[in-house]
C-alpha cells in the first residue's frame, strides 16, 4: 500500500488546489526512488492500491472483531485511567524513577502505542475513502478539511506508520528478541512471564 501510494503521489507531488497555496510538505515535488514505488505508472499503482485496500480493510476488520469477541481489547485499549501509569512508566524509561511500575500484560505506554496504531489505521482508511469518493461522501471529505487536506493527512499517516514500525521493530530486537518470533507465530518463549 505504501509503495503504490508513493507512485500515485508522484502524479501531483504537492497538497493544495492547483496554483497553490500549498500545505507545508518537505516532499513537495519530490519523486521517490524507483525501488520504493510499485505499479510502474499511475494506473498500475492505482490498481495495486485499490486491490491491496481490500486486504488492509479485511484484516483490519478481522482484527477488530477478534479483539472484541475474545475480550483481548481490555489488555490493549488505552483508557483514561492509564494516564497516570503512562507517566510513571515514562519516568522509569527516562531514569527519573528507579523501580519498574507494576503492570498487567501490557504497560500503559504499550497500551497507548497499540491503541494509537489502530486509530492511525482507521485514519488511513477513512482519509483514503474521503479521497476516493469526495462527492458521494462529501461529509467525510469535509470532516478532514476538504479533498486536498484529506490527501495531506492520508500521506502523513504513512510516514507516522513507517516511523512507528521501524521504532517498534528496533525495540523488539533491543529489548526482547524472542517477541519477534511471537509476533509472527503467536507463541512466546521469552523472559517476560507477563506476556503469556
Amino acid at each position: 500500500m505504501v509503495t503504490s501510494g508513493l507512485q500515485i503521489y508522484g502524479a501531483y507531488a504537492k497538497f493544495g488546489e492547483r496554483g497553490g497555496p500549498y500545505y507545508v510538505n518537505p516532499f513537495q515535488d519530490t519523486e521517490f526512488p524507483g525501488w520504493s514505488r510499485l505499479g510502474g505508472w499511475l494506473a498500475g499503482a492505482l490498481n495495486w492500491h485499490f486491490a491491496l485496500m481490500w486486504g488492509l480493510v479485511g484484516v483490519g476488520l478481522l482484527y477488530l472483531c477478534y479483539m472484541v469477541a475474545s475480550g483481548e481489547w481490555r489488555s490493549l485499549l488505552f483508557r483514561r485511567r492509564d494516564v497516570r501509569g503512562a507517566i510513571a512508566m515514562q519516568q522509569y524509561y527516562l531514569r527519573l524513577r528507579k523501580d519498574h511500575p507494576p503492570q498487567g500484560k501490557h504497560n500503559p505506554l504499550q497500551k497507548f502505542a497499540y491503541t494509537f496504531i489502530v486509530l492511525l489505521g482507521v485514519l488511513s482508511v477513512l482519509t483514503g475513502f474521503a479521497i476516493y469518493k469526495p462527492v458521494q461522501f462529501s461529509w467525510l471529505t469535509a470532516l478532514f478539511g476538504g479533498f486536498q487536506a484529506a490527501r495531506y493527512w492520508h500521506f502523513w499517516a504513512v510516514w507516522i506508520f513507517v516511523g512507528f514500525t521501524i521504532v517498534h521493530v528496533i525495540l523488539v530486537f533491543a529489548v526482547d528478541p524472542p517477541s519477534f518470533r511471537a509476533m509472527i507465530t503467536g507463541w512466546y518463549r521469552g523472559r517476560f512471564p507477563s506476556h503469556d
Partner: protein, 248 residues
Amino acid sequence: MTRSEQTPETPETPRTSRRDFLRIAAGAGTASLAAACKWDGGNAVRPRLLDISRVNDWVGEKLLYSPSRLAREYATTERTANVPSYFISRTLPLLKDPAAWRLRVDGLVRQPLDLSLDDLMRMPRTTYTVKHHCVEGWTAISTWHGVPVSAIAERAELLPAARYARFVSFDADYSNGWDLASAMHPQTILAYGWNDNPLPPSHGAPLRLYAPIKLGYKMTKYLVSVTFTDKRPGGYWEDQGYPWFAGV
C-alpha cells in the same frame, strides 16, 4: 491416455515444518518485495488486478453512487486561475470547418439526431461552478455551462434497452464509456462554455462532456458523437488500465 499423462507425477510431499514454512514465507515475501518495485504485476498478476478493479467499479457504481447526490457548487470568486488542459493529439485539435460541425446522437434511440452548436444552445442550459478532480490528485474550480445529457437523451427518445453511453471525440482516438445512471445525472452536461466564455480549444471546443461526479479523464473533449448502447464501451485510458467507473 495413461494416468501419469493426466496428472503430473508428484513425489511424496515431505511434511513441511512450521519453521520451514516461515523460512519459505519470509524468503518469498522478501523476493516479491524486491521484484515489486516499479512492477505493474506482469502477465501473471496484472489481469488479476484488473479483475479486482472491475469489482471496485461494481462497488462504485452499484453501492456507492447516488444518482440524486449533487456535487457541491462554489462561488465564481473561488475559481482556479490556471486550469491545465490535456489532449492526445500531437497538436491542439482544431476543426477545419467549425460551421460544418454536428453532434451525432445515435444508438439505442428512437430518433437519431445531428445537432449544430446553435441547436444545443437553444436547449435548456445548466451552469455551475464546481471542483474538478483529476486522477493525478490535483483539483481546480471552474464554471461550466451547457446542455444536460439527459435533455439530449429525452430529445432523441432514448430506448429502455440502453445501459451505457459512448462519447467519441475528434482528438485522435479518444473516447469514453459511461454507465447510463452517471450520464443521466443532472450535473452531467455537454458543455460549450467555460468561465462565462465560449469553450476554448484547449478545453475541448466546440463541445465537451463535463460532470463533477467523475474523474477528469472520463470527460470526453472535442465531442463528435454520443452513442447509447447495451454493451459496455471501453475508452482511451480505461482500456490501458485506468478504472472504468471512475466516479468520485
